[in-house]
Subunit: 461 residues, 2 copies
């Protein structure tokens, strides 16, 4: 594994300078931003969670921001970029942590935030424009009695397009698995990057071609997503003397199919010591289990605890203005809570084997005691309960980080390395998904979309 | 294992004759039925699915049927039975197949069908009287946008009390597991059988003391059950050249957490040849997969099939008057469909190990080719996907049936033997549940409830 793959090396097939005046001429009245300071600031996402990417990507910036008002503007921009061979990186909320939407080769940053709103919905399904904010989408769906099945911890700022293009799952995956599971993305509408762009409707399996492809396989303009009947959720924190107990309680609830839940996150001390606003719910020295439980099943949740641990928080989940929902202490927000006051740490993204979950979790805990601090997320994965994990890593050197990754992998723990820019480096399989790679040749033959992200892609023309 | 335990031996602690005139005096105006022909006819349930029980229980009958109008009548009857040491067997729909509600020691058959109706409901929970018919309950809950999480294939005739007292799961268990899972029975209200009966509220874990205890651990008068947001269900049949393919498709759908489903039943040929009304959907020589899929996810279901098999039926699930819902070809209705025209077969009830499911299923299929015909039901069990099974057995002798059971058990397939009258003989562990046995001493100290069913129980006074 190469931790120091340079963006420059990854984008060797794209021109290094771009004819922006010609682009502006072709764009006509499509809104743009060209002020260098604004373009530079808006070029950045949350790549700085990784000290390696923080260094590697610090100078990355687009040449221009294009802000399409509708799909027609997207088509016009895609055509212009194809004609002029200008790279195009799609950007929405900019909440990614792997530098997913960093314009490595400059060119156009396509800000799709204005492409928002629900196209239609019916019980169980909502079709929305890619730039729709997840909280707004959820609230609109909730008005009809439904809710999003899953969302990242960045729900309040991220978009549905960004979630599908850059994410894998999150709050809700303990019930429904990840986005890659059948039924979790029903359809995607995309614009190709060609001189005469096409608009394609990808349904079911085919829609997976845009899932976590970092925007390299077409410009997503609409997504058809499943919705679930809405529950009143209760945020819960349970404190335990040991991480082992927090894990065991989480595991027992995860396996209880009769208990409707959206989140189960065991977190080791001292991570909760960084949860400022939750201080009273996070006793000194104790591990915690964060949970979201549907209100009618809170009593069943308590029955499973059977006296284990102490419930230190139990309140209806709130995510309105001025409120910090409990899920903003889980998934990669856990890392953010620590980074707010201490940039000396970073994180990893792991997937534990389902068939020796506890053994494997405790083995890694023991192996890196005090250096890799356990933070698990119970999820379903291909129909089985296991844990995703985003442990806090006390960072020293790239070499040591690499050694920690290698050690996890050698013990059968899969690592989605968040410290490399390319899809391949970050994937569990160290290669681009075959379907996605093949599909890219059809929809982005010149390799202009987010160049450097699908590093193994060789332009076909 | 004793296949021929006699009811008489099992009920040795109860008197063999009962003072019915004294009982009538104590009951006052509580409605009763004493006409011998009616009492005999109503004493029977569906025990005759088993040729062994059919022989063993053919002469079993109660002395009197008591029909309480409300809980006060139940209390009066329980007190009277306690004072006179008269056995009391609770009976509702009478749809059990293990002779659960056969009055082995005679005495009172307590017909609770009049104890019906919803006590209260809120989103996610419904509290109903024990004698409430399951279809009626479901329809009333549906009016508010919810539905029962699970029901037996006898939904149209069975009651919620009977389901909890005699069943283990059914349609819906592929999503929520069995009744024994936390959250699947929220509370039970019971009347004890003592001279001064008490009314107890059992919540959560404690409510499991009445689950599948065949009415031996108190008289259930109310149940608080979880409900799920209602979906429009689509009944589907897919036909395959081989049972292996039907199994594989069912397994893939079972593991797809993004696809909302209520039923997945792979059934081997020639079983579907007995599905008269479904003839056109059951091609000659083909195995079938029966499924209930939430309408918005039917397209995802088809995507998982990916061209495997042929969809021969796809229609909204209907269970109104005059309609035979598709689920009446699954669970133990599969057996009934065959028994309608041929009483030479019987069945078994199996639980396959989740960690070598396919291997185990195919091993049993090969071992008893042509004699034990595969019929599986995908379920969740303790958070894992596995299969319950109710194979059709071509019956020859009790000894051969016993050998088939022993062979399954020796290969790690658990058998809930439906050919014995006692809880112990039918349990996977061959003993009464410790909680239930201990609890019985508190609520039925004289052992008057359904005597012979918890055969190991020794009266404490």
């Amino acid at each position: 594994m190469t931790l120091h793959q340079t963006p420059a090396a990854a984008r060797s097939h794209v021109p290094q300078s771009h004819d922006i005046p010609a682009l502006l001429a072709l764009l006509g009245d499509v809104p743009v931003i060209t002020e260098p300071v604004v373009v530079r600031r808006r070029s950045r996402d949350f790549f700085w969670y990784s000290p390696i990417l923080a260094e590697e990507l610090k100078d990355v910036r687009a040449d221009i921001i294009v802000q399409p008002r509708d799909e027609a503007d997207v088509i016009r921009t895609a055509s212009a970029c194809a004609r002029l061979r200008i790279p195009l990186t799609v950007r929405a909320g900019g909440t990614g942590n792997y530098g997913q939407a960093m314009p490595l080769a400059g060119g156009v940053l396509l800000d799709i935030n204005a492409l928002s709103g629900i196209v239609w919905q019916k019980p169980g399904v909502a079709r929305a424009r890619a730039g729709t904010n997840l909280l707004a989408l959820d609230q609109e769906v909730r008005a009809g009695g439904y809710e999003l099945r899953m969302h990242p911890s960045t729900k309040r700022t991220a978009t549905i397009g960004g979630f599908v293009a850059g994410g894998s799952g999150g709050v809700g995956s303990v019930a429904y698995g990840g986005l890659r599971e059948p039924g979790n993305i029903l359809a995607a509408r995309i614009v190709t990057v060609e001189e005469e762009p096409r608009v394609l409707e990808l349904r079911q399996d085919a829609a997976q071609k845009v899932n976590r492809a970092y925007g390299t396989t077409g410009i997503i303009t609409e997504l058809e997503m499943p919705t679930a009947p809405a529950w009143p959720w209760i945020d819960v924190i349970v404190a335990f003397d040991t991480f082992e107990e927090a894990f065991a309680a989480g595991r027992d609830v995860a396996h209880a199919d009769g208990v409707v839940k959206k989140l189960l996150s065991p977190i080791a001390w001292p991570i909760p010591s960084k949860f400022g606003a939750l201080k009273r719910a996070c006793p000194e020295g104790q591990a915690i289990l964060i949970a979201m439980i549907a209100e009618p099943f809170l009593e069943s949740f308590r029955a499973i605890l059977a006296g284990r641990g102490t419930i230190t928080l139990e309140a209806p989940s709130e995510e309105g203005p001025g409120q910090v929902p409990l899920y903003e202490y889980t998934w990669n927000h856990t890392t953010l809570q620590w980074l707010k006051t201490d940039r000396s740490v970073t994180y990893l993204q792991l997937l534990y084997p389902h068939d020796r979950l506890e053994e494997s979790v405790m083995q890694m805990k023991a192996l890196f005691e005090g250096e890799v601090l356990p933070h698990l997320e119970f999820i379903r994965f291909a129909g089985r309960i296991t844990c995703s994990a985003l442990p806090i890593v006390r960072y020293t050197t790239p070499e040591r980080l690499n050694a920690i990754i290698a050690e996890h992998e050698s013990h059968g723990v899969m690592v989605a390395n968040p410290h490399v820019v390319s899809l391949e480096g970050g994937s569990r399989h160290k290669r681009a998904d075959a379907d996605q790679s093949g599909f890219k040749a059809e929809v982005d033959p010149m390799g202009l979309l987010n160049p450097g992200k699908m590093a193994s892609y060789v332009p076909v023309r």
